[in-house]
């Protein structure tokens, strides 16, 4: 085996950071659901591709810029999330919530995949716009513009989410609900309402992520399966329920993936996520940053 050149490594590193940012955005939704409801939402990647298709069809039919579509899809997804939480997830019995919610969201993923397959067929789609198909060269490394845009959107969205959680009254209520539901109710927080909004926020991040994905990758209805493993690995490594943990794990895994991708190829890069997942469960089941919350899940 020849050692990869420094420029190739730098390229892998750069791509890894950009992809890691996107992973951080996509896994933040999973962390929200887990935090507010203790559920693992297997359908998150399916919603991602539902949003990507929404972007595609809005772009194709109205000629709307793919980045503007998120101002339509995000509010729709937010309301959809509140509806799903109220009408479906809240009906599950609390004693078997963890596993039953996985099955329920799994069913949602199948419904979305099958529905997209019926409406849009199984063939590949992609959204191309002129400004996103070029790349910038800096320090001998090329940065694809679509990835840069994706990273920027992820950073802005995560910053907004962080501000919402840290600086607003609602954010305090949400964090309180995540930390201790009963105590939050005791101090007068309407935890049901907060939970619904938390779920809606999670789906809104899927809408934003979907628009980005539509811009940077090709997609088809069954594509969400490949993402489930990746995102799950990220939130387990980060520690279930910790937003910062997930973000750091996302960047970490993105960078390692980027480097492995340029040095060893696509299959080892994909397997790496599972390797991290199993290693985390064996060595540190609560994840890198998980605390009390993750212990019993």
């Amino acid at each position: 085996m020849t050692l990869p050149s420094a420029s190739l490594l730098a390229q892998g590193l750069a791509l890894g950071v950009l992809t890691g940012g996107l992973y951080a955005l996509l896994s933040s939704g999973l962390t929200l659901y887990f935090g507010v409801m203790r559920i693992v939402m297997v359908a998150h990647p399916a919603f991602l591709f539902l949003a990507a298709y929404g972007t595609y069809f809005l772009h194709v039919t109205t000629g709307m810029d793919p980045l503007l579509t998120m101002f339509i899809t995000a509010p729709v997804f937010f309301l959809l999330g509140i509806g799903i939480q109220r009408l479906l997830v809240a009906r599950l019995a609390p004693e078997s919530l963890a596993t039953m919610s996985v099955l329920l969201t799994f069913a949602l993923a199948l419904l979305i995949e099958g529905g997209l397959g019926v409406v849009a067929t199984g063939s590949y789609r992609s959204v191309t716009v002129d400004y996103a198909s070029s790349s910038l060269r800096m320090f001998g490394v090329s940065f694809p513009v679509d990835r840069l845009i994706g990273f920027g959107i992820a950073a802005v969205t995560l910053a907004a989410l962080f501000l919402l959680l840290r600086a607003t009254r609602f954010g305090r209520a949400l964090r309180a609900t995540i930390q201790h539901r009963t105590a939050a109710r005791l101090v007068g927080i309407d935890t049901e309402r907060v939970t619904g909004i938390g779920f809606g926020l999670g789906l809104a991040t899927a809408a934003i992520g979907g628009a980005v994905l539509a811009l940077i990758t090709t997609f088809f209805p069954a594509a969400h399966w490949g993402w489930i493993g990746k995102l799950m690995a990220i939130i387990v490594v980060g520690g279930l329920g910790s937003i910062q943990g997930a973000a750091i794990a996302a960047l970490l895994l993105g960078v390692v993936e980027g480097v492995v991708l340029v040095t060893a190829g696509a299959t080892p890069a994909a397997l790496l996520f599972y390797l991290f997942l199993f290693a985390t469960l064996l060595l540190r089941p609560q994840g890198l940053f998980g605390g009390r919350l993750a212990e019993r899940f």
């Binding site: 887990f34 203790r38 559920i39 693992v40 297997v42 479906l88 009906r91 599950l92 019995a93 078997s96 963890a98 596993t99 039953m100 996985v102 099955l103 329920l104 799994f106 069913a107 949602l108 993923a109 199948l110 419904l111 995949e113 099958g114 529905g115 997209l116 397959g117 019926v118 199984g122 209805p221 399966w225 490949g226 489930i228 493993g229 799950m232 690995a233 387990v236 279930l240 299959t267 994909a270 397997l271 996520f273 599972y274 997942l277 199993f278 469960l281 064996l282 089941p285 019993r296 899940f297």
Partner: protein
């Protein structure tokens, strides 16, 4: 005069014998190749779903990843026959043992965590095996598939279905028997204790980790046997189908629909879901509508009858039977009988 419970036992035995007779005669009643194929498929899924419920039913740990063991069993059997030139039976048993050991090793990582993380591990397992099978082209043929040598080259398709009908029926019988024995054993009681309250079970001295790892391996063993048989029966392996998370989800759906905590629940589920799935494939062909149907059915089961059909029907029967007598009334009646 036989009382109610005697009559119920008699009725149940009659039903059992009649059901077994119909099953044994099925391939002869159905000389049509397609119906025999569907029959084999139903029995295979019944065996798979019952194997799944050794973990899912007894311990309550929901694995969406049993397709991983199915696939490992299938590929290991095929490779044993092709690469090592083993006889089919040896390859099959060896592959199943190998899968059981692998599952136990994974189980050690998986059972340290509970509920949600366990499901994540199981999903990851399938995705990982799919990736490996796709990329190890030299061994598995990748996405172009792996041809598995037939058990008897001279058999035509219809007779091949007949042979595998009985092989899968035998496998189903063995898995059901295993389930039945565990249900009545101390081991089974420990597994159920894990399901009800793992912390308390541990406090009471149940070796929870060892039990979970063992039953996980046992379940994988039977799942791999079904996978190996499938490979020999079907003659061709494709990673997309063999390591399919949808197959894994269908096993869960069958077990939950029928009733994962009942001996015949998963079998009942397979008898409903497989024909329904075949119908959807025929009616809607290549569209993705069958995935919608699976998703819808799974959502309905999870939301409205997570304990399955068997308890639901029992509840209905109980409600409409007026003669629901308390213990005291029964004993008074018996006393009157004695006095006469």
């Amino acid at each position: 005069m036989p009382n109610d419970s005697d009559r119920a036992v008699l009725l149940r035995r009659l039903l059992f014998v009649a059901g077994a007779a119909v099953l044994l005669a099925f391939p002869w009643l159905m000389p049509n190749s397609y119906f025999r194929y569907a029959g084999v498929l139903v029995l295979m899924y019944a065996a798979l779903s019952t194997s799944w419920s050794l973990v899912g039913g007894f311990t309550g740990y929901v694995s969406l990843g049993h397709a991983a063991f199915f696939g490992i069993g299938a590929y290991a059997t095929a490779l044993g026959v092709i690469e090592l030139r083993l006889p089919h039976v040896v390859a099959l048993l060896g592959a199943a043992l190998l899968t059981a050991v692998f599952a136990a090793l994974v189980g050690i990582a998986a059972v340290r965590v509970r509920g949600a993380s366990f499901v994540i591990v199981s999903i990851a397992l399938v995705a990982m095996m799919n990736l490996i099978a796709q990329s190890a082209r030299g061994l598995t043929g990748g996405s172009s598939g792996l041809r598995v040598p037939a058990l008897l080259e001279s058999l035509d398709r219809t007779s091949n279905h007949l042979v595998f009908f009985y092989l899968f029926l035998a496998l189903l019988g063995v898995v059901l028997l295993t389930w039945w024995v565990i249900d009545r054993s101390r081991f089974g009681a420990g597994l159920k204790a894990i399901r009800e309250d793992e912390d308390k079970a541990e406090a009471l001295g149940v070796p929870t980790a060892a039990y979970k790892v063992f039953v996980f391996g046992l379940s994988a063993f039977f799942t791999a046997l079904a996978g190996g048989l499938y490979g020999i029966w079907f003659g061709n392996l494709d990673p997309i189908f063999v390591f399919s998370i949808i197959v894994g989800a269908n096993l869960v759906l069958m077990a939950l629909l029928g009733g994962a905590r009942h001996l015949l629940g998963p079998t009942l589920g397979a008898f409903i879901v497989v024909p329904a799935g075949e119908y959807f494939l025929i009616a809607f062909g290549e569209t993705q509508a069958h995935i919608v149907a699976s998703g819808l059915l799974l959502a309905i089961v999870v939301l409205f009858m997570p304990d399955g059909i068997i308890p639901a029907v029992r509840g209905l029967v109980r409600r409409f039977r007026p003669a629901a007598t308390s213990i005291r009334e029964q004993s008074q009646e018996e006393l009157r009988e004695v006095r006469r």
